[in-house]
């Protein structure tokens, strides 16, 4: 997350983005619900890639926030975000619970930041 508080306040781009994303997203939601009767089956050319959207997108969202490629391997690995992320990942795998994952990850981050590395 870059850009401090106030960085994009009353930026007209924000409302343009909101409205356009909203329109596309509604179109996606409505697509087959609206077309049913005319198109009863999702074409397999559409279905196949859609199956991989959640893991690909979620991983592309997560990893850049956990991994910062540093000047050395050690600098890359000994990163509080990566370590906290690994703890949270283990909890996510064991529990599949959003709340437990957030609690473990934030707890690990605060422990590293305010106790271990303080």
């Amino acid at each position: 997350m870059t850009g401090g508080v106030g960085a994009v306040v009353s930026d007209p781009r924000v409302w343009v983005a909101i409205v356009v994303i909203g329109a596309f997203t509604y179109g996606i939601r409505l697509s087959f619900i609206h077309l049913f009767g005319r198109i009863d089956e999702v074409p397999s050319g559409v279905k196949r890639p859609l199956r991989y959207v959640p893991p690909a997108v979620l991983a592309a969202l997560v990893l850049p926030d956990l991994v910062t490629v540093g000047p050395s391997v050690a600098a890359t690995l000994f990163d509080e975000r990566l370590i906290a992320g690994l703890v949270a990942g283990a909890v996510a795998w064991r529990t599949e619970n959003v709340f437990a994952t957030i609690a473990a990850g934030m707890g690990a981050l605060w422990l590293l930041r305010f106790v271990v590395l303080a």
Partner: protein
């Protein structure tokens, strides 16, 4: 309120509200994070709420907020958010037969509320229980999610504005995604999609125009399809 019959809340509507309750444990922190991230990126309360009401799709909201906060080009913000939401086309197709008998306007309204959770609950219930009023059950679950999502966003904006930056509250954003990612990698092709998507997004982090996320996601999708072909 829709579904009120002679002052008594409709049974099917209540069933949807009841079944969605356990999922709120995941939705509440997610909604709070959406508000916290919005205020951190410099969005106003009105913009944060506008995003939650008009887009109403958590993962794409967080990605859009992140990209807006780092001044990515508008086309990249929109393209990334839309790719993230493409998965809902699967839900639309899967739930469409159950809504086929409803009037066009009813379907248009039900579509707005379509989310991962409302879809998953409703499909499971429709397959299990043929007597349910489909739209009432769906509305009970989906509208509850909508209300909690909006309240959570507002609370997140208010709370987020008051917490010191050192606490790193926005770290909760990747944690939410992590909790959703782990169960999404359920076989070889989906795992390949996740590993390649994540790795490429890290490596492509230095790409101009903040294209890293979009490029990573598209490579991950391609990797999933390629693995599927190799496996079969």
């Amino acid at each position: 309120m829709t579904g009120m019959n002679g002052g008594v809340l409709d049974e099917d509507l209540i069933a949807g509200m009841r079944d969605v309750t356990p999922l709120m444990l995941g939705i509440v922190p997610f909604a709070l994070v959406a508000g916290i991230a919005a205020v951190d990126a410099g969005l106003t309360l009105a913009e944060a709420v506008g995003l939650s009401v008009i887009v109403f799709a958590g993962a794409s909201q967080l990605a859009a907020i992140d990209l807006l906060g780092s001044n990515a080009p508008l086309a990249v913000v929109i393209g990334t958010a839309v790719v993230i939401n493409l998965r809902m086309m699967m839900y639309s197709a899967s739930i469409a037969p159950y809504f086929a008998d409803y009037a066009r306007r009813t379907r248009a309204g039900l579509a707005y509320l379509l989310t991962d959770q409302a879809y998953a609950l409703s499909i499971a219930e429709y397959e299990r229980n043929d007597d349910r009023s489909r739209w009432r059950y769906y509305l009970g679950a989906a509208a509850s999610l909508w209300v909690v999502w909006q309240i959570g966003t507002v609370v997140g904006v208010v709370v987020g504005a008051g917490v010191p930056d050192a606490w790193g509250l926005t770290f909760a954003v990747p944690l939410v995604f992590l909790a959703l990612l782990v169960p999404a990698m359920k076989d070889r092709p989906t795992t390949a999609a996740g590993i390649i998507g994540g790795a490429i997004a890290v490596v492509a982090g230095g790409l101009p125009l903040n294209l890293g996320l979009l490029v990573g996601a598209l490579c991950g999708i391609a990797a999933g399809m390629a693995t599927e072909v190799t496996a079969s």
